[in-house]
């Protein structure tokens, strides 16, 4: 009993640690994942930093603002907003095994 009480106090007194994946691997929430067709993607085609709608609109911050943009499928919840917001329809939602 005393041990669990101690643990409880330890948690209460602790500083909350910032962590990636606070809710676990959220990529498992959906089997459909966004796959970018690099032949269509605007920044890849032009070689210049532009567009990046997928990065801008992602509520989960799993897309990088790089050329080419990369999506972290381990944490991507598969909402599909990036697919809808891509102006050249370069993103398709496909069945991907998150492992």
């Amino acid at each position: 009993m005393t041990d669990s009480k101690k643990d409880y106090q330890k948690i209460l007194g602790s500083v909350q640690k910032p962590v990636i994946g606070e809710a676990g691997k959220t990529g498992t929430w959906s089997s459909k994942k966004p796959i970018i067709d690099l032949n269509k993607c605007i920044p890849v085609k032009s070689g210049k930093p532009s567009c990046f709608n997928c990065w801008l609109y992602c509520p989960e911050a799993v897309v990088t603002r790089t050329i080419p943009p990369e999506i972290d499928l381990v944490y991507c919840k598969g909402c599909g907003i990036c697919m809808e917001e891509c102006p050249v329809k370069a993103i398709k939602m496909e069945e991907v095994n998150p492992e």
Partner: protein, 299 residues
């Protein structure tokens, strides 16, 4: 107008939060923190944002967060600012209160009104998903007319509270409406208020896939429809001067606006709405824009 490359690349929210897929609020919070930077303290009442921040022991954001009881968001912001002033850090650190529509229009209104009256130098952002979503969609003071929730199964009988106007009556230096579907406009507004002294108020429309009844991929489409139909005009009131924001400017002309039924029929929460209610919506929108027009002409 800011460009996508003007936004800092650094993220203040880590991936893998507890927010639902396609959450409008998660995007609003992410963009707001990008504008305000790491030197921000957020105070949050019970809301979906509490859920996003996570369970005891861990936190999904890089910045300091203070979880406060439901009714005390404004008061806790005043308290945080007082302690910062005491330590001489008030100029360096921004105090941001971030609450849902329930915590703003119903439960937290007196604390917010008090803080606004005192002129506490902080930013209050209300993300409005138009019901108590965190507890399973109960109606709030911000739920629009005719919306089906678990506590209004036949549709809400009364209309939505106009919170920005209530705050305007307090005579605070900055009031703005924003929308999750216009992140660049949102970023620009949050950047602007960083250097304004006094109480700043944001009212941000936050589409909610499970609560509003649409597919998560359509969050931005629904948000944009709210602007395009004239339902949610984007504006700023800076020191009493009314300004229409760029994404809403073209809808000043009623012929440019889409019919409101486009917005209503895209969401399951408006399913029990009849023609009479649709007419009321049309009439309300007409009146809102008439008022906007007269306010613009008076300046």
């Amino acid at each position: 107008m800011v460009n996508v490359m003007d936004l800092p690349e650094e993220e203040f929210i880590y991936p893998g939060t507890r927010a639902c897929a396609g959450c409008g609020m998660a995007l609003i919070y992410r963009i707001a923190l990008k504008a305000l930077g790491a030197k921000t303290i957020t105070t949050v009442p019970a809301s979906c944002l509490t859920v996003l921040h996570g369970m005891q022991g861990f936190c999904s954001t890089k910045i300091s967060v203070y979880h406060t009881p439901f009714a005390t968001t404004g008061a806790s912001a005043s308290g945080i600012l007082a302690s910062l002033e005491d330590k001489g850090l008030a100029d360096e650190i921004t105090v941001l209160a971030f609450a849902g529509d329930g915590g703003t229009t119903d439960i937290g209104i007196q604390a917010l009104s008090g803080a606004a009256e005192r002129g506490t130098n902080f930013i209050y952002a209300c993300y409005d998903n138009e019901a108590y979503m965190n507890t399973g969609v109960q109606r709030s003071g911000s739920t629009p007319l005719g919306v089906r929730t678990t506590t209004t199964p036949e549709g809400k009988k009364v209309r939505k509270k106009n919170m920005p106007k209530i705050l305007e009556a307090h005579g605070i230096p900055y009031i703005a409406t924003a929308n999750a579907a216009y992140p660049l406009d949102l970023f620009e507004k949050f950047k602007r208020v960083k250097n304004i002294k006094g109480t700043k108020y944001f009212h941000i429309l936050s589409p909610c896939p499970p609560g509003w009844g649409y597919e998560p991929k359509n969050t931005m489409i629904i948000g944009r429809l709210a602007n395009e139909t004239g339902f949610w005009p984007l504006y700023e009131v800076i020191n009493g001067k009314f300004e229409l924001s760029k994404p809403s400017k073209r809808y000043l002309e009623s012929s440019k606006r889409k019919p409101i039924i486009d917005y209503l029929s895209a969401q399951k929460r408006f399913k029990s709405i009849d023609d009479t209610t649709t007419k009321i919506y049309e009439e309300n929108i007409k009146n809102v824009w008439k008022e906007i027009k007269s306010r613009l002409e008076n300046h």
